[in-house]
């Protein structure tokens, strides 16, 4: 007898199966987000914004009020909402192109201003939706459609380490971490802490290492290997900034 795993409450069955490619990491990140929201019992308060990129496919994914924005512009839209509705919990969901390239000014400045929003960025080392071009996160020597001979660090610099950057510019009380879809339980824990930081009036940022077998052109085994052997080596998984522990006594 097969037992169907229980799905989080915000998982909208009417719009499943979802539209991501088989083996994609996005749905795992979204599921971790659903679990975190459910554990905090904040479904009623969450507004979810998705970027343009494969994240746009999440526009009707949840039983959550959701809005699809523009490529790179989800952070300001959610910021705009949150500024006038501080009672809500704002989640801006985007890819690495959206967050680190075209929308990097919004990420940096929302972190600097300590906007009370949570930014979740999916790192799949390239631009998924547009067919696998180089992203700020593309690894050195990694082949993409616009670096067909491999990414040259000399010509294009080093991959962006987002959480490291955001941790260094964000305020006390904010929360910054990098999780991975290879450890969804930990990712959920990080997202939950990020949402808690927002509930406590601070900015939070999560990068999730993800999978894109379609553009990596990898089979299941190679996909997993790329995440575990290459991405996780370059991009350290862990917490980069946590709200200071309250001193006892």
């Amino acid at each position: 007898m097969s037992v169907q795993p229980q799905m989080p409450r915000t998982w909208r069955t009417e719009t499943k199966p979802h539209k991501f490619c088989p083996g994609c990491g996005h749905p795992l990140v979204l599921k971790a987000l659903s679990w975190a929201i459910e554990e905090l019992e904040i479904e009623e308060k969450v507004v979810f914004g998705c970027d343009i990129g494969c994240s746009l496919l999440a526009w009707d994914f949840f039983n959550l009020d959701s809005v699809q924005t523009h490529h790179g512009r989800t952070t300001p839209v959610i910021t705009g909402i949150k500024r006038v509705r501080p009672d809500l919990v704002g989640v801006a969901y985007m890819g690495d192109g959206g967050g680190y390239a075209i929308g990097s000014q919004h990420l940096v400045n929302s972190a600097m201003r300590n906007e009370k929003v949570t930014v979740i960025l999916v790192n799949n080392t390239q631009y998924g939706m547009t067919g696998g071009q180089m992203a700020p996160t593309t690894l050195p020597n990694q082949k993409t459609e616009t670096t067909p001979y491999g990414r040259s660090v000399e010509e294009t610099g080093l991959p962006t380490k987002g959480p490291e950057m955001v941790a260094s510019i964000s305020s006390e009380g904010s929360y910054v971490a990098r999780g991975t879809v290879s450890n969804v339980r930990q990712l959920k824990k990080y997202i939950k802490r990020a949402l808690e930081a927002q509930l406590n009036g601070n900015f939070s940022f999560i990068e999730a290492l993800s999978l894109c077998p379609t553009n990596w052109r990898t089979n299941a085994e190679e996909t997993w290997k790329f995440l575990e052997d290459q991405m996780s080596k370059y991009f350290t998984v862990g917490e980069f900034k946590t709200p200071a522990q309250k001193k006892e006594g």
Binding site: R73, P76, I81, R83
Partner: protein, 363 residues
């Protein structure tokens, strides 16, 4: 409960700059938040707003750029607040991206444009070179409402009206001013809209309403991306049909001495004051000159203009741009055989004397 005082009781005669007028009007209209990024000649709208906002329980956010100012305004509107922003020139260029989202999703954003010289950074002073961009910018179809003001009373009246038009019809709405109006002082009557029986159309939240989505109510899923051409076509056709059907209610224009006019002066914004002045002088000299000014430059009073234009011998389009108004006029009058002449000074003012001179030269 703390009740913020009313910014204006009844009405008041004041002498102030246009930027100050806009800040007062937005406050009186019950705007709840301004999102903005510094650019001349818009700055003082923010300066006055930030001085008044805390007194009346309003908010302000200074963003990292105009793209963000526009998208945060979109967010404020999604949250159901009367939200606005203001910009000019290259800032208006950046605003086109968020305004295209507002157009697609029919979001009642309000943007005050204080035109400055262009293209590029050009001057911080004045122009009418943002007409095309404000009416038709972005990758869209111009489903926008644009009021072109000619002075401070207009700035006050139409800034208030912009919020009502936006929230009533749910299309992005623009107040198209310019640097001269922004910076000069004029006498103007500011008032509490209620004192004039103007009731403010209530703002409503698109997202974040009470109840657990999927349990107490359906979740709200707002999209602006479509998979198929047919899906998009239907959305655009529906929106365009709505826009066309409400346009006659929205269109506004001003005219004088058009009945027997041989030469019809056509201008918008502050230039129309020179045109109007010239018309009066020329009439005194016996020249049969009329004056027509679109107040809504989008939607454009095309039918009304055509009726007047067909009776005239010559049309003179006057503008501080290189034919931006003329293009709209020509398009609106397709098939009309009346000669169209123009007087164009991109980025520079037009005086009464120049218009008089130009009209005389036509005879």
């Amino acid at each position: 409960m703390f009740m913020a005082p009313k910014p204006i009781e009844g009405e008041k005669r004041v002498f102030m700059t246009g930027n100050e007028v806009v800040a007062w009007a937005a406050t009186a209209a019950g705007a709840e938040i301004m999102y903005g990024y510094p650019i001349t000649p818009q700055n003082e709208i923010m300066h006055y707003w930030t001085r008044m906002a805390p007194k009346y329980g309003r908010k302000f956010l200074q963003t990292e750029d105009e793209i963000s100012a526009g998208f945060t305004t979109v967010g404020g509107v999604l949250a159901g607040k009367r939200a606005f922003t203001a910009t000019a020139g290259p800032g208006n260029t950046l605003m086109q991206e968020p305004m295209s989202m507002a157009e697609m999703m029919r979001l009642p954003t309000v943007l005050v444009v204080t035109q400055r010289g262009g293209p590029s950074t050009a001057t911080v002073i004045y122009s009418q070179q943002e007409l095309t961009m404000t009416c038709f910018g972005g990758n869209g179809e111009g489903m926008r409402i644009v009021y072109s003001t000619s002075g401070h009373q207009d700035l006050y009246d139409y800034t208030i009206k912009a919020f009502n038009t936006a929230w009533k019809y749910r299309f992005p709405t623009f107040v198209l001013g310019d640097g001269y109006q922004s910076k000069m002082r004029e006498p103007v009557t500011i008032y509490d809209p209620e004192a004039r029986n103007i009731s403010m159309v209530p703002a409503e939240a698109y997202m974040g309403n009470p109840g657990t989505p999927g349990v107490d109510r359906d979740p709200v899923h707002l999209r602006n991306t479509y998979n198929m051409e047919e899906e998009l076509l239907k959305v655009i056709n529906d929106n365009m049909a709505t826009y066309e059907s409400i346009a006659p209610e929205i269109v506004e224009y001003q005219e004088e001495e058009v009945e027997d006019a041989e030469v019809l002066l056509i201008s918008h914004g502050i230039v129309s004051r020179a045109a109007q002045g010239a018309m009066k002088l020329l009439r005194e000299e016996g020249f049969k000159v009329g004056y027509f000014r679109p107040i809504t430059v989008r939607p454009f009073p095309a039918e009304q203009l055509r009726e007047r234009a067909e009776k005239a011998k010559c049309l003179l389009v006057i503008e501080s741009a290189y034919g931006q108004l003329k293009r709209i006029v020509t398009d609106s009058l397709y098939g009309c055989t009346t000669t169209i002449k123009s007087y164009m000074k991109p980025g520079e003012s037009v005086t009464v004397e120049e218009v008089v001179e130009k009209v005389r030269s036509l005879y």
